[in-house]
Symmetry: C2
Subunit: 306 residues, 2 copies
C-alpha cells in the first residue's frame, strides 16, 4: 500500500491510483480509467440494459457537448453557474493568431483571444434530449435510453466527485402520472439492481446543489415537492454515503422550456433515473475489492462476468 492519508477521500484516491484503476491527469477530478475499471462499467450497463428491456426505450446517444442556445433555456446559469463548462474557440486570422501566440509564449492569459463557441459541456445526460423532443406526444408518451459524459466544475480529491463522468439514464416524457410512476418504479427497480450486485444502498430524499443566496429556499421547495431521491452507499466514508443513482421528477419544467406537449395539449411532465456509472464502479470496487475476478460469484454472475 502506498502513502497513508488521514483524509479518507485522498486515501481511497491514492489506493485507486496505486492499483492502476484510475490514472491521474494532474487536474483534480480528471482521470483516465483502466481497462478493468471500464469493464465494470460496461458489465453494469449490460445489467441495466437487460433490466430495462421491458420498456422498449428509444436509444439515443448525445455527445458531451450541446448547443449554447439550449443551455440558455434550462436555468442552469441561474441555479448551478459554478458547475458549468463553456466551450470557447479561436475565430481569428493570421494576425490575431500571432497576437495570441505572443501572449501564450509570455505565459499571459491567451484565452482573451477566444470567442464563445456554439456549444457548452453537457451538465446532465438528459438535457440534450428535451430540445429535440419539441412537439406533441402520443398518449403513450416516450421512454428514452440515454448515456453521455457530463461535466461539473467542482475540482475535488474525492474520487467519486469527478469533473467529468458518465450518466446512464432512462427518461420518461408524458403525463404527470406517467412521469411520476416512472420515477417511483425506477427508484424501486434501481434499488433492487444495486442491491443485487451487493451494494447496500439506502433511498434518501435529496436536493440539488443550488448556488448562492437563493439555494436554501430552492432546496427546501425541492424537498417539499418530493422531487428528487438518491440511492446512496458508503464509498469513502461510512457516515457520509455517496449518491450513486438519482431519480427525479421534473414536473413540467422541461415541457414548458422546450414546448413538449402531452396529447391533451398541456405541457409534458418528465422524470428520469440516472445511474452514475463511475460512482457505481467505485462503490463496487470498495465493497468487493479491487480484483473483479475475485468478486462474489453471485455478483459476477449478475454482471455477466462469470
Amino acid at each position: 500500500m502506498c502513502t497513508q492519508h488521514d483524509d479518507p477521500y485522498k486515501q481511497y484516491q491514492a489506493e485507486l491510483i496505486e492499483a492502476g484503476l484510475l490514472i491521474p491527469s494532474g487536474v483534480r477530478g480528471v482521470y483516465g480509467r483502466s481497462g478493468t475499471f471500464e469493464n465494470i462499467i460496461d458489465q453494469f450497463e449490460g445489467l441495466v440494459t437487460r433490466e430495462g428491456a421491458f420498456q422498449n426505450a428509444e436509444v439515443m446517444r448525445f455527445p458531451p457537448i450541446f448547443p449554447r442556445a439550449h443551455y440558455a433555456r434550462i436555468d442552469h446559469i441561474n441555479n448551478f453557474p459554478d458547475l458549468m463548462g463553456s466551450v470557447h474557440s479561436f475565430l481569428g486570422g493570421e494576425k490575431e493568431h500571432q497576437a495570441m501566440l505572443g501572449k501564450f509564449e509570455a505565459k499571459e492569459d491567451w484565452t482573451s483571444a477566444l470567442s464563445p463557441a456554439e456549444v457548452m459541456l453537457v451538465p446532465a445526460a438528459c438535457y440534450p434530449l428535451y430540445p429535440t423532443a419539441t412537439g406533441t406526444l402520443s398518449a403513450q408518451g416516450r421512454v428514452v435510453d440515454l448515456k453521455t459524459f457530463v461535466f461539473r466544475h467542482e475540482p475535488s480529491d474525492d474520487p467519486a466527485r469527478m469533473q467529468i463522468f458518465r450518466q446512464r439514464e432512462f427518461v420518461r416524457l408524458g403525463t404527470p402520472e406517467q412521469a411520476l410512476n416512472h420515477r417511483n418504479d425506477w427508484l424501486a427497480r434501481g434499488q433492487a439492481i444495486l442491491e443485487s450486485v451487493g451494494l447496500p444502498v439506502k433511498k434518501v430524499l435529496a436536493d440539488d446543489p443550488f448556488f448562492g443566496r437563493g439555494a436554501r429556499i430552492m432546496k427546501a421547495t425541492q424537498r417539499e415537492q418530493d422531487l428528487k431521491y438518491e440511492l446512496v452507499v458508503p464509498i469513502c466514508k461510512e457516515d457520509k454515503p455517496t449518491a450513486i443513482t438519482s431519480c427525479n421528477y421534473h414536473l413540467d419544467h422541461f415541457g414548458i422550456s422546450f414546448d413538449i406537449l402531452q396529447a391533451n395539449g398541456t405541457p409534458a411532465h418528465t422524470a428520469c433515473i440516472g445511474f452514475g456509472l463511475e460512482r457505481i464502479a467505485l462503490a463496487l470496487l470498495k465493497t468487493h475489492g479491487f480484483d473483479p475476478q475475485r468478486w462474489p460469484h453471485e455478483v459476477r454472475s449478475r454482471l455477466a462476468m462469470a
Copy 2:
C-alpha cells in the same frame, strides 16, 4: 425521401436525419446518434478489439477533457488554433453571478464573467496518454488501446465532419523501429479490416490541416517525411473520398514534449492508428444501406451482427 439538395453533403445529412440515424441539435456538426448508429460503432469496435487482441495492449480510457497544462505542450495552439475547444468556468461569488445574469438576460455576452478552467477539450484520442507516460520505457516499449470523444471546431454540413466524434486508437511507444513498424503494420491491417466489412478503401499519403501562412511548408514537410497515411473511401462524393482511418508516425515529437524515453535513454518514438468511428459508421451506412439487418451476410457476420 425528404428535400433534395444539390449539395451532396447536405443531401446525405438530410437522408441520415430523415432516417433517424442522426438527430440534429441545431448546431452544425453536433448530432445525437440513434441506437442503430451506436450499435454499428459498437460492433465495429468489437471487430477492432478482436483483430488487435494479439498485441495484449494496455486498455486506457480518457475522458473528452484533458489538462490545459498538457495542451500547452503539444503545439496545437501553434498548428491548429482554429480547431481548439477551451473550457471556461464561473469562479465568482454572488455579486459576480448577479452581474453575469444581468448580461445574460439582456442578451449581452455574459461569458466575459468566466475564467479559463484547468481543462481543454481533447483534440485527438492519444494526446491525454503521453503526459501520463513520462519516464523510461522497457525494451519492449508499450502498446496502448485508447478511445475517446475528440473535439474539432469546424462547423460543417458534411455529416462526416462532426465537431465531436470518437476515435479508437492503438498507440505504440518505443524505438523508432517499433513505432514505424506499428504504423506500417496497422496501415495494412486497418485496410484489411475495412475491406473485410465491404469498404473499398484506398491508402493515401496525407497531411494535417495546419493553420495559417506556415501551413504549406508544414504540410510539405510532413509529406516528405512520409509521416501520415489515411485510408479513404467515398461517403458523400465519389470523387472526394473521406478519410475514415489514419496511421501516423510522430517521430520523437511526444517523446521530447513529455520526457518519454527509450530504454537507451533517448526520446521515445510514437505512432498510432486511429479509427474514426462515426465516419466508419457513415461509410458502412452509405455502402450497405440504412438497415443493418439487410447488410450482406459476410459483413454482418464479420461485425458479429449475425
